[in-house]
């Protein structure tokens, strides 16, 4: 399984802070996004526009390949400091 986490606007728009999705060989970030966006209009909107992605807590781009048990997080550009 892949653990998906969301934060800030992405969490609010999707209505879901954390979920599990089944892993399949060859899955990359781009296809995970596509799969989530097909799930509901809420997820579609949540992952539109500028959304950053971290795999196992490291920033990645959408071509990153995933492995079983990975933690994938989606969130907007950060505004700390």
């Amino acid at each position: 399984m892949i653990t998906v986490k969301t934060f800030a606007q992405v969490r609010e728009l999707s209505g879901c802070g954390q979920l599990q999705v089944p892993f399949e060989a060859g899955l990359d970030v781009a296809s995970l996004i596509l799969r989530l966006q097909q799930q509901s209009p809420a997820w579609h909107d949540a992952l539109e526009g500028t959304v950053l992605c971290a795999v196992n807590q490291t920033l990645c781009d959408s071509s990153a390949l995933l492995n079983e048990n990975d933690e994938v997080a989606f969130f907007p550009p950060v505004t700390g400091g």
């Binding site: 934060f7 606007q9 971290a54 807590q57 969130f75 950060v78 505004t79 700390g80 400091g81």
Partner: protein, 154 residues
Amino acid sequence: MFVQVSEADFSQQTLYDQLLAQCDKPAGAIVTFTGLVRDFNAQGPIDGLELEHYPGMTENALLQLVEQAVSRFSLANAAAVHRIGRLANHDQIVWVGCAATHRHHAFEGACFIMDTLKQAVPLWKKEYQHGAAQWVEPKASDDQAAMAWLKKIQ
């Protein structure tokens, strides 16, 4: 090197003393940066803010920046502290400290950590205004400041 991510407030003196006590070579120059919650935004006065973060990654990302600063600017020590949760106007929100042999290295280290923190550490601000809360938009000037460090020759 140390990082802290916590709802609790922090003490200038305690953090300064901790930074200095853990130096791995003699330090002649210490620079600290402290950020406070502003009481206004472009739309007018605000009533504090709420900070969301990505537990685990926030600490790791801060530690990475601190380690990069130490190695890039030959620091004797560096540290970063960030608060999360509900904060009132004028509350302390972030603290960065850098100790070095040469003063310009300490200045550059602290400036580097702050500039890159604003682009690479998973923290998000929501400002309270007129009873509602609104997510803060990233500033283009912050992006440019972080990018500038990438361009500088190491």
